[in-house]
Subunit: 409 residues, 2 copies
């Protein structure tokens, strides 16, 4: 079924048949690639989910429109500028970007998904973008040249993921085979992460032949259990986008195996995003079982995952398990949570139960060892029902504060 | 009407007529006072609100019972141990503590409010507490002696507030006169602060003559607009308690003036708590106006106040106002928030509008100056209605992480 081609590293992963990548430096930021394109050589079907933020930027608004008929075949991403809170000028810029990429690839602008990620409240630098994409016929001095045509579309998934990064410390790539086809995903995002319907930016492409409804179902089901269970800092981005393009080059595959491969790629990218959360030194996984509803399971799990006191304890390997109890108990807004009691609840770190079982000095020392690992799993059982949820995040370090106290300056 | 006796400092503030304070070192922690008592010399009426946490500790459970008939006249606080997640033994210990203080003061145990604050999941050290409170007739060596009787009840509000501290860096005291009477409040709390119905620990005493219903109304109305609008880190304590005792020694006062004095003391303590949030270097105040409902105003205000990205930007004086826009836009769970639009929203820092008004280099430099002050106010107007809310918090610094990464070790 789903095999891991890449061991989570991304080096050596190639695009599925009929997909190409481009990564270049257009001059949006001073150094490093900041413009990337993923394109199918043949018509594709697509599925996509976007941020629900009330301040979704013009790029998201445009892409949501383009996504509606599920026929997108290219994705362009500008890194270092979010194109959010930019008004009518921002809308014009997003539309021009789609048109420029459409001309370059000789497809309608409506087939192009436009994403931008970075600082909020600044206009996109259209002059260098225009020059780079060939819209005025020549590259600007110092802007790193232009896209000369399909011969430059030789960027690997890793190179494209690299060009999408902002404060990410490494590129996120994942890949699975399914029958004779493959599913390849790239993602970026380290802060402002608590997606709701979608995460920062994650793109999946496949050469499997899949219909639009099946594609949409596979993506939404996977996103709900992966990216939507991820939180670095409870802050929901204005630019979150997840898209999946299928160009059919490898022919049909088993639908269940396909859905499983999509889920596996989404999960691997989710754990990569969590582990690279701003300032993060560890992956934190919280599993809630015995909940009265799926909603309760996820709510309580997120409450533990997002507690700054739990996150700092995990960072310092402080065996202060009482903070997990606190984070479970503080949920009082929903009627069903009032059934949670200290008597029915248990808490574990890894395989070690810490509540209600008493913890002596020796056990606390063992707990410190468990918390020192680079992956920490906290388990909570509520004893109220049969529902469960797993959510993904990271520890909170002084690195997060340092990164964000002077991001724009 | 309400005059500030103390200029927010607390030195020189004395108890209202008929109240006494005790502060001592019982040996719950190695150094510093850890046991305090506030007692009325005459019968008092009382009002109190407690944490709604599902993991409220035995001390809170007992005190909630004692508070029911509004006749408490003493408050005992143990610092450095929360007595939470301690089961049946924790319940017995809380009851014994009330009984010991009742014997000492010659009042029924049911007139004593018991609070404990500190690490979760450890039993109270009853032997030194018993010895200190005179329950076994002698102090233990090194435990700092015993309460010898009323002659030791000479601790000022500042000394009592000091004995209540955990990771607080300074004691919180506030005082107002109202007619011939006074309202004095003490509080503690710097982390695990997002109260819901009550805050960490805050006690108010007054010699005004006030009936139980009026007392309760004055407290709840004040708490709702002060402590319940405070958040340091979104984590709700298992021990939150606010109590107000009135012993009538100064006779009756104007009810409106009394309510106003209670509100003023609560507000001043709230701002003191926010400013002393763990690792905090600044007071952060968020004002939302033009909301469609009071609930929406408070929800959006808290969303901005609690955004780690806003808090770190305020810490570093990074003029990244786009994060406020993000924190407003991420609220999509409530139907009425879907009416929020970029077009109707405005954002200001202090008196300076930053959105939608364009911000050039010069304006960003001015914004940095505003953000460098030790009090930062962010204002948001939603343009949807007439409701407003003000909430109180602090910046997020690497100090918060350092304090909490190794709290128990």
């Amino acid at each position: 079924m789903a095999n891991n081609d890449a061991d989570g590293v991304g080096a050596g992963v190639e695009w599925p048949q009929g997909f190409l990548g481009y990564a270049g430096h257009a001059g949006v930021r001073r150094n490093g690639n900041d413009l990337s394109i993923i394109a199918s050589e043949r018509p594709a079907v697509s599925a996509a989910v976007f941020t629900r933020s009330r301040f979704a930027g013009p790029s998201v608004v445009l892409s949501r429109r383009h996504a509606a008929d599920q026929r997108m075949s290219a994705i362009v991403t500008v890194a270092a500028n979010a194109n959010v809170a930019t008004g009518a000028e921002g809308e014009r810029n997003a539309a021009e970007l789609a048109a420029l990429v459409g001309e370059l690839l000789r497809i309608p602008a409506e087939r192009v998904l436009v994403s931008s990620t970075g600082v909020i409240g600044r206009q996109l630098p259209m002059a260098p973008l225009r020059a780079h994409l060939g819209g005025d016929g020549a590259g600007e001095a110092g802007a790193g040249g232009t896209v000369a045509g399909a011969r430059d579309f030789d960027a690997s998934p890793l190179a494209v993921a690299g060009a999408m990064m902002t404060t990410d410390t490494h590129a996120k790539v994942s890949s699975r085979t399914v029958g004779g086809a493959r599913v390849v995903g790239v993602a970026k995002g380290v802060g402002m992460i608590e997606p709701d319907m979608a995460t920062m930016l994650a793109y999946l492409v496949t050469d499997a032949e899949v219909g639009p409804i099946e594609l949409d179902n596979a993506l939404r089901s996977a996103v709900d259990r992966t990216f939507n269970c991820l939180s670095v800092d409870t802050d929901t981005s204005t630019s979150d986008t997840v898209a999946l393009l299928a160009n059919g080059a490898a022919g049909p595959v088993d639908p269940d195996a396909f859905a499983e491969a999509v889920h596996a790629v989404c999960l691997e990218l989710t754990e990569q995003l969590a582990r690279d959360g701003e300032g993060a030194t560890k992956l934190l996984r919280v599993v809630v079982e015995g909940a009265a509803s799926p909603g309760q399971a996820k709510r309580i799990a997120k409450s533990v995952l997002n507690s700054p006191l739990v996150k700092t304890a995990v960072h310092g390997a402080d065996p202060n398990w009482g903070r997990v109890v606190m984070a479970v108990g503080k949920n009082t807004e929903h009627e069903e949570d009032l059934a949670i009691t200290p008597e029915k609840t248990t808490v574990r770190f890894g395989a070690m139960e810490v509540y209600p079982r008493a913890t002596g000095e020796e056990e606390l020392a063992r707990l410190v060892e468990i918390m020192r690992r680079d992956e920490v799993e906290i388990g909570v059982t509520l004893g109220l029902g049969e529902d469960a949820a797993t959510v993904y995040g990271c520890d909170l370090s002084d690195g997060y504060v340092r990164i964000n106290a002077d991001y724009t300056t």
